[in-house]
């Protein structure tokens, strides 16, 4: 809710719904006959179409990456810290494209869309998706926007997985891959956290086997709980200690007092869960976490990541954050190791941060310096052509 739009903001933006009539054959074998992508773009495409950057969103992200939809907006887009005039992803220099992925719940075709065969919301019948399906739909989006080759494809977490898949599937359609706080595949512990979150959703009586929209209800408790679990894992112990410690929101430990005690962290988590469950779709959450679990970059390459990356021809920037324990620096180092063995150009840095996995979304001077240094190289390449 800005009084005035800051100078380094892209300002008021309007998403556009782009419709695709050409059927999309999905990795699961099913076909989406047609679909819509909700997309935001910032900046302008240059004459030779060489300055386009694709931003791939993560689990709970969407197309609204920067700016405001209206002056009444509570907060700007999810990557507003990094996208805007003079910011690392400089909208004065680049044409930045951020779609909401299919399966999402912010306007692109997904479980809350109407299934043309039944006239009811897709709900649990929406086809399961893989990261490669998103990449395929994003490639078609590039076609439609007149972008033959991205200057860079960029993403954090699940977004980083899309970036790596892009590099393997369409090697000649991107020059740079920026992979942030990501991994070539999830660990068992990571899958376990996702399964607990999914179970929370499924156990909500309002879930109705996924047909809650038909029943005109929402599994808000389950989705809220799922978010709480996820949220804790995206933060670090240190950050939660600094932010909340053992501060009480209500009650007291004084003898003779029996009013209910509530820690600040409890109230914070509940707020996170409530806010999320009012703005996100449970079936989308199930679908997105499964896509995350199923992703395995090297599966089709005989489980050899070096062989996988041999198919890439872009340059890579890989970034991790020291306190990120869901996509730890060790996972990033595996990506880098494979890239080196595959003789790819790569720069890697592990940014010192106590913000956990969420660090990739938040301001951090060094993070911004590295992104800016890398992006400036891309700018130099474009202008020297």
């Amino acid at each position: 809710m800005p009084d005035v739009i800051p100078e380094n903001s892209v300002g008021i933006v309007t998403p556009q719904a782009i419709h695709f009539d050409e059927p999309l054959v999905l990795a699961c074998g099913r076909t989406l006959d047609n679909y819509t992508l909700m997309v935001e773009t910032y900046g302008a495409l240059n004459a030779d179409g060489s300055n386009a950057i694709l931003i791939c969103h993560a689990l709970s992200g969407h197309h609204h990456a920067a700016g405001y939809h209206s002056m009444a907006d509570q907060r700007p887009g999810w990557w507003n810290n990094h996208i805007g005039p003079g910011k690392p992803f400089d909208t004065n220099r680049f044409f930045i494209v951020c779609p909401n992925n299919i399966g999402g719940c912010h306007g692109s075709t997904g479980p809350i869309s109407i299934n043309p065969d039944t006239g009811q919301p897709w709900g649990p019948d929406f086809p399961p998706l893989r990261v490669r399906d998103w990449v395929e739909s994003q490639a078609r989006l590039a076609d439609k926007l007149g972008i033959r080759q991205w200057a860079a494809v960029v993403g954090g977490s699940l977004g980083g997985m899309q970036v790596m898949r892009w590099a393997l599937e369409y090697p000649d359609r991107l020059r740079h891959a920026v992979v942030i706080a990501s991994a070539m595949k999830l660990s068992a512990q990571n899958i376990a956290f996702n399964e607990i979150a999914r179970n929370a959703i499924r156990s909500d009586p309002e879930f109705c086997n996924g047909r809650y929209l038909e029943q005109q209800t929402q599994p808000r408790n389950g989705l809220g709980l799922a978010r709480m679990i996820g949220h804790v894992t995206y933060l670090s112990d240190e950050l939660m200690g600094n932010k909340f410690g053992r501060e009480l929101r209500s009650g007291s430990f004084q003898r003779g007092q029996d009013a209910p005690i509530e820690f600040q962290v409890e109230s914070y988590l509940r707020h996170q869960g409530d806010a999320f469950s009012g703005a996100f779709d449970a079936n989308t959450y199930l679908l997105m976490t499964k896509a995350l679990d199923y992703f395995d970059l090297a599966r089709e390459y005989d489980h050899n990541p070096v062989e996988a990356f041999r198919h890439a021809s872009c340059d890579f920037l890989v970034v991790s954050f020291s306190s990120d324990w869901r996509f730890s620096p060790e996972r990033a180092a595996e990506i880098v190791e494979a890239l080196i063995a595959a003789d790819k150009n790569v720069a890697y840095t592990a940014i010192e941060s106590n913000l956990g996995h969420d660090a990739f979304l938040l301001p951090n001077q060094r993070y911004e310096q590295v992104l800016t240094a890398y992006i400036n190289r891309i700018v130099a390449e474009i202008s020297s052509k």
Partner: protein, 198 residues
């Protein structure tokens, strides 16, 4: 900091278009120069945040890494030459790092400040305190250089570890060191440069 003389000497041992690994690559100058002049291609490892950013800005392949943790991410003989300039003395276990360099690289180039230089010797002898020189400006308690050695020490280590010395060059800028370094390198050189193989 790397001097131009070091760079020129090292260049003559690096084959055009070879694959190199630069340990402690700093701001990426060596890799960038070798890339431009010799079509050399490779990676640099660095731990300092600002230097990593400089490398990224130059377009050098820089990997954030702590050299004391070894070079596990690289397979045997995966580089033509592994270079380490002015960093050996800052390693926790220089002999292990040297072993790793020779495992990963077919050849190695190592440069280090020679603590056997007469200026260091006379500083200690006359003042009775750890030398602080123009090249080595730290106090003993805050220096990153925790394992100084002399030319003689280094060669003794090479003999012990059966490392072949292909070439050795010595650098000294000042007088009389400049003229004397060839006769008595351990006494007069500031910097020693070694070209090694297994």
């Amino acid at each position: 900091m790397m001097m131009r003389t070091d760079l020129n000497i090292i260049q003559q041992w690096i084959h055009p278009t070879s694959r190199i690994l630069d340990l402690g690559c700093g701001d990426g100058e060596l890799l960038q120069t070798l890339g431009k002049t010799k079509g050399v291609w490779g990676y640099g490892l660095e731990i300092d945040a600002d230097k990593i950013t400089s490398c990224v800005a130059r377009g050098v392949n820089v990997i954030e890494a702590d050299l004391d943790e070894g070079l596990n991410q690289f397979s045997d003989n995966s580089f033509d030459t592994v270079v380490m300039t002015q960093a050996l003395q800052a390693m926790r276990y220089p002999h292990l790092v040297l072993g790793e360099m020779l495992r990963v690289g077919k050849q190695c180039v190592v440069t280090f400040p020679n603590f056997g230089n007469w200026r260091a010797r006379s500083y200690l002898l006359s003042r009775g305190r750890m030398p602080v020189t123009r090249q080595l400006t730290f106090q003993w308690y805050d220096t990153p250089n925790i394992h100084f050695c002399t030319v003689k020490d280094f060669e003794a280590l090479c003999t012990e570890k059966r490392i072949r010395i292909l070439h050795r060059e010595f650098v000294a800028e000042r007088l009389p060191d400049k003229y004397m370094k060839g006769i008595w390198p351990n006494m007069f050189s500031d910097t020693a440069i070694y070209h090694l193989s297994k």
